[in-house]
Symmetry: C2
Subunit: 383 residues, 2 copies
């Protein structure tokens, strides 16, 4: 059974004066409109969200959204995989259609975070980490700092290469009206911003964000009846790496990225050379390098060269994060993986506006925790 | 693709001196052993859990469990559907195998609740309810009380019929060493226990519980290679009802039960007359009646008669809640739906010990919120 995506939407990402309920509802309604289907058509509804209970004291948001969107009696469920909840939602939506359980599945991801102080939000996010590491005070940014230092020293990569990721993704974000930040930054600004986790500085990190994004999935057969603008999910895979980060044999190899992309390539019958555009999970700049290597686009220790020579820029050989990435678009946990899917879908159906590149095959890689769990999705333009 | 269940386990339910991590791990390990498969065989791991973040400040428990069980690089994901998270996990596990995404899927459900005060636990559970109703102070027990009063008056049912549900399920629980309570109660005790939500009394409610349960799913083809003791998931369906309970046309009709059981019967090619045993979600005694009517075993307003004449007792025409039900087994939110699956699986493969009844076809109905979302699963014994 071929699974198609026939609609996409996302709210403005940023500091939003709206609760999770409103954000999900807005993205969901816009996706119904974009897909050209009615609420009655929807058979399954998945909500990707990590922590509405912790952030807002409201649970059961998937039932609430089913009610608000008027899709009853559609099945509704919340999918959590921490920061890769959105990618996990894509996997579930795919499975729901591929298994025959649903002919029309709406996926809405979202998170409302900015009403908390940075400390409170960081505490909620840090609850992802393994208890044996968390008790020593390790956080995700500190893992990123240690990994970046190791990578730069081991592979003799210049510090500037990380800043180039930030500068590139901010530049891409200028053309995305839904991005949290729509402003370019200079190399100087990135390199002189305050140190957060040495050697990483403020501009190596994504912000804390509110927002929601949605995708509509159906069978290819049904997609053809509804529209001629659709994409196919031709490959998808998911994998878990050790939850204890210090147990990994090589801190520069993200096992979940390697394994999930291998599954996705095999299913699609493609390889890294076939990709035209990709969204990678640049929660920290260093992760863009590790994922480029994990998905096989670059050999280990060489992805920094792609940043230096412009190969991953919008006009390069393989544009990465045309949406602006998590870096400038923002990172509302449960929404991010769905928003990656929205961007590659729009690129494949020619709906990316000023961000448009030529693309028939696209990949999205969504990372949970510090690579604890990873979903890789490959979409292709319909013939 | 026929999906089979080849193993099951559950921890002791009750007040446990163990955190969610330990409970999940214990059930998961025992299920691997029961199924006779190694950690390397597992391709997908689903964890049904509503609120480990709220109860323990620990999130990412699916990645943690994947690590603890040694099933890496298996895909791992948390499934939340409030009190029906366990049933939702069965649906996801089924989809993962039926879609071809996984050949061997482990589902582990669990919740750790009793370390919180009753007030704290109730606050977390009440966050399920619709914000428009919650702000008026409505809780799930108060919905149950109002529904029970309406049912008894409208259908001229005796108050004793509700007490009979409690007495029956406590009696069944005596034979379940994993149940929180293994003691019979008398009609007098049930009818004279303190009023909680008039007309419902203490013994009309399930307790707050810690515990975990697990099931192993694979293809029928693979099941045959591994064992001759397996069951088939022949029907499954899920549905959402209005989240605002007071909007329902008839408070005695649980729309989610009706719709999800309709889907499950259609898929299995069966009807209510074909059932040999069933587990229903008796979070409140009144819910056993509403589900018996929702799944078509009794006409509207008549299920109370089955309680009065003993038809739902272990030696009756259709034994209901041979496990002891949520009433005496306990209700660790994310575990409950999985534990229902464990009971019907054990009944079908002849592993229910002193609780064993003759059964080739069994149904489980898992209810989230006050019927906000419902999963109905039908299993059949292998030929």
């Amino acid at each position: 059974m071929e699974v198609a995506v026939i609609g996409a939407s996302m709210t403005k990402f940023g500091q939003r004066d709206a609760w999770i309920r409103e954000l999900l509802s807005q993205a969901g309604e816009e996706c119904l409109t974009d897909a050209g289907v009615t609420p009655d058509d929807v058979e399954h509804l998945y909500v990707s969200n990590m922590a509405s209970g912790e952030f807002e004291g409201q649970t059961g948001i998937m039932n609430l959204l089913a009610h608000d969107l008027g899709v009853l009696p559609a099945y509704s469920e919340r999918v959590d995989q921490t920061s890769s909840s959105g990618g996990a939602g894509i996997y579930e939506a795919w499975q729901s259609v591929a298994s025959g359980a649903s002919d029309m599945t709406l996926l809405v991801g979202g998170e409302k975070m900015t009403h908390k102080t940075t400390g409170q939000a960081t505490d909620i996010i840090a609850s992802i980490t393994h208890p044996d590491e968390y008790k020593h005070g390790v956080t995700l940014p500190s893992f990123a700092g240690m990994t970046a230092r190791h990578y730069l020293e081991r592979f003799d990569a210049p510090r500037e290469s990380l800043a180039r990721v930030a500068v590139k993704n901010h530049k891409n974000g200028v053309d995305n009206p839904k991005a949290q930040f729509q402003k370019e930054i200079t190399m100087e600004k990135a390199l002189e911003s305050p140190i957060i986790a040495d050697p990483l500085r403020l501009y190596d990190f994504c912000p804390i964000t509110d927002g929601s994004a949605a995708l509509m999935f159906t069978t290819e057969e049904r997609a053809k009846e509804i529209t001629d603008e659709y994409a196919l999910v031709s490959g998808i895979g998911g994998a878990t790496d050790t939850h204890v980060v210090h147990e990994r044999d090589d801190p520069t190899i993200m096992g979940g990225v390697v394994e999930s992309s291998k599954q996705a390539y095999e299913m699609a019958g493609l390889g890294p050379d076939d990709l035209d555009v990709a969204e990678l999970h640049d929660m920290f700049t260093i992760l863009e390098f590790l994922q480029l290597e994990g998905i096989g686009v670059a050999d280990q220790g060489t992805a920094w060269e792609l940043a230096m020579d412009g190969a991953t820029a919008k006009d390069g050989d393989l544009p990465i994060n045309t949406s602006g990435g998590l870096k400038s678009k923002g990172h509302p946990l449960g929404a991010s993986g769905v928003a990656q899917g929205v961007e590659i879908y729009e690129q494949l159906v020619g709906g990316a506006g000023p961000r448009q590149v030529e693309a028939d095959t696209a990949l999205a890689c969504n990372v949970g925790g510090f690579g604890n769990c990873v979903i890789t999705t490959i979409m292709e333009a319909a013939e």
